[in-house]
């Protein structure tokens, strides 16, 4: 077997226990914390009689041992059945599927924005290492990492929607690919992309700076290649490899950001749905979204590792 194929296979096998672990954590978060789903329902309906309570517990299988509950839940979940939303009796999976495209759109925008800002700035900072340009970019990155995304979102609404009147205050209730929606996407997209691009910029800078110190750079320069060629053709290519390794981390960042940013901008995605579910204590919905988030991050991790192995053959033989 070729090195690459073996690496991918090994990596896939390693993913299985983690996927299983993700399901255990999701289940444990909801079922092992004090207060089970029925307690939450009692909170919604305090007049419930003990008999009704017991009936509900039986209906949800809460009188069974924990492992049995877990298996039941997992088997159903593997078939795409996460139960119903308690309030509306709509299947959870339906609702979740509806919420995925807006989050993907938002995440992609954030990603692209992050890359477009971070890569050139990172290169610039590395080339001007320890000069003024580097300090300025460092300060901007610090700014981007430190600013709370919900506050940045509110400030953008204040500026772009209330003072400049360029955007509506709330997301228009239109289909996702309606021009108004896409125009509105800029605000949450900028908000969600800021922190990622700041982090990415620092990573880009340090990996560039490291590459610039290597001997092949000296060799290329000694050969008389123009500095532009050295940087854009030789160094950039190698330092971009290390950027792929943070892809999964950035996805996690963007998903976490979407929880807050979608709420600020009333963007109809998964993150906002999770917050709504948390406020209404919709256990089934919370579990479905949490599980999905975990899966997405694991898959991104896997993809990033495989891309890394394709780009950098050395990694396959560790």
């Amino acid at each position: 077997m070729s090195g690459l194929r073996r690496f991918v296979l090994k990596r896939l096998l390693l993913t299985i226990p983690i996927l299983w672990g993700v399901s255990v954590i999701t289940f444990a978060l909801v079922y092992l914390t004090p207060g089970d789903p029925v307690d939450l329902m009692i909170g919604l309906n305090p007049n419930m009689s003990p008999a009704e309570e017991a009936a509900l517990r039986e209906q949800y299988g809460l009188d069974e041992p924990v492992y049995q509950q877990y298996i039941d839940w997992l088997v159903a979940a593997l078939q795409g059945d996460f139960g119903n939303v308690i309030r509306t009796s709509r299947p959870v999976s339906d609702l979740v599927v509806d919420r995925i495209p807006p989050t993907i759109a938002l995440g992609l925008f954030g990603w692209v924005f992050g890359l477009v800002i971070a890569i050139p700035t990172g290169i610039y900072a590395a080339v001007k290492k320890d000069q003024l340009g580097d300090d300025v970019s460092r300060f901007i990155a610090l700014f981007g990492i430190s600013i709370p995304n919900f506050w940045l979102g509110l400030m953008l609404i204040l500026l772009g929607a209330l003072w400049l009147n360029w955007w509506p205050v709330l997301a228009p209730r239109k289909p996702l690919f309606h021009p108004e929606m896409l125009w509105y996407l800029i605000l949450p997209g900028l908000t969600i992309g800021t922190a990622s691009s700041a982090t990415l910029m620092r990573i880009m800078r340090s990996s560039m700076a490291e590459e610039l110190n290597k001997e092949y750079v000296t060799a290329a320069r000694a050969k008389g290649l123009p500095e532009r060629t050295v940087i854009l053709k030789h160094v950039l290519r190698n330092s971009l490899i290390s950027v792929t390794t943070v892809a999964a981390f950035l996805t996690a960042n963007i998903l976490a950001g979407s929880v807050v940013v979608e709420t600020v901008f009333s963007w109809p995605g998964l993150g906002r749905e999770l917050v709504q579910a948390a406020l209404r204590r919709e256990v089934n919905l919370i579990m479905a979204i949490t599980l999905l988030v975990g899966f997405v991050i694991i898959v991104m991790n896997l993809l990033a590792d495989i891309v890394y192995a394709v780009l950098d053959p050395r990694i396959r033989y560790d």
């Binding site: 983690i18 978060l29 709370p148 506050w151 609404i157 899966f295």
Partner: protein, 343 residues
């Protein structure tokens, strides 16, 4: 030799080690550890942005502490009252001139909020929640993470394998999502939030310290300690951990900001504290709707700008300190890539 890992590339590590050893050699060679931290502190002190960050954090913490008196079991332990008003006092009840959403003026420098409470006082008191949770969570998670990572790294083998797969699993979730779910299940409140962020936040430290331990485990002094019959716990915590601690401190100082933002985010989402709590994020939650709807055509920007600005200022100052510590300890450029699963 101080530690086997000077990582600035472009330097010849041998030369640096030798030079440091020469220049620092004194009669009292036992002061090696002390002088290493002393050198780091000297470097930190020269770093202007880090010192500025330290000053900002100190002032904000002091203001929060002195804002309103603290009583423990009926005894006043902190008598100062810097805040011009009580944070929960509804001003228009006593003073008919004050309105809700009063514009900032000389008397109410940050204006008033939607219930006619003084914003300045609330922002001053608000630091108590965010700042203390940030430090408490980082202390708890770093401690758990060190113990966990040290055990995994020291014993290796299948213990390590299982322990690190658990860490990998935690890393599959963003810390904020886990904290959100936990707080939903536990309910709102200070210690609930601490638990929510501490429950999984240790994973990043565990991974970090394990990596460090794998590096120093092979050092001769560890073999020597083992050969002398030191117990495992003593080898781990007296010999290995102190030599692996520098990156941990960097990570911890950079994480405080992340936790503070996370706590404020949950407060903002309406999940962190009961409504009306003068916590920075929770204060934003109550004003968000009004900002979006714009009451009576006027926009009470001060109700959003100031509490959020306080979070921003604190987190920025904290990150400046973290960067300064990073430079001072000569640790690797920490890109803080493991905020997932806690942070």
């Amino acid at each position: 030799m101080e530690r086997g890992r000077i990582t600035i590339s472009g330097f010849d590590p041998e030369r640096v080690t030798e030079r440091e050893a020469l220049s620092d050699w004194t009669d009292e060679s036992s002061s090696e550890t002390k002088s290493r931290w002393w050198r780091a502190w000297r470097r930190f002190r020269r770093n202007r942005s880090a010192m500025l960050g330290l000053a900002i954090v100190a002032i904000m913490a002091l203001i929060a502490f002195l804002s309103v008196p603290v009583k423990i079991a009926g005894v006043t332990v902190q008598p100062f009252h810097l805040a011009p008003h009580r944070p929960d006092k509804i001003l228009y009840l006593n003073n008919p001139d004050v309105e809700i959403y009063q514009q900032p003026n000389f008397e109410y420098m940050m204006g008033t909020d939607q219930n006619g409470r003084d914003m300045l006082s609330r922002v001053m008191v608000g630091g108590r929640y965010s700042i203390s949770i940030g430090f408490v969570v980082v202390a708890v998670t770093a401690t758990i993470g060190v113990i966990y990572g040290a055990i995994a790294g020291y014993y290796g083998g299948w213990i390590d394998e299982i322990m690190m797969r658990i860490v990998d699993t935690i890393f599959a979730f963003p810390g904020l999502v886990l904290a959100l779910v936990i707080v939903t299940m536990l309910g709102k409140g200070y210690w609930e939030l601490v638990l929510a962020f501490a429950a999984f936040g240790w994973a990043g430290y565990a991974r970090l310290i394990r990596g460090e331990i794998l590096k120093v485990k092979q050092e001769e002094y560890v073999t020597a300690a083992k050969a002398l019959g030191a117990r495992d716990a003593s080898v781990i915590f007296r010999h290995i951990v102190p030599n692996a601690i520098a990156p941990l401190i960097v990570q911890a100082s950079l994480s405080i900001g992340t936790v503070v933002i996370g706590v404020a985010a949950l407060g903002f989402l309406g999940l962190g504290f009961p409504p009306g709590t003068p916590e920075w994020g929770t204060m934003l939650d109550s004003t968000r709707q009004t900002l979006i709807q714009g009451p009576g055509g006027s926009i009470p920007w001060w109700a959003t700008v100031y509490p959020g600005g306080a979070i921003f200022l604190f987190v920025m100052a904290m990150n400046m300190i973290g960067d300064g510590i990073n430079d001072a300890l000569d640790a690797q450029e920490v890109s803080n890539v493991n905020q997932a699963g806690g942070g």
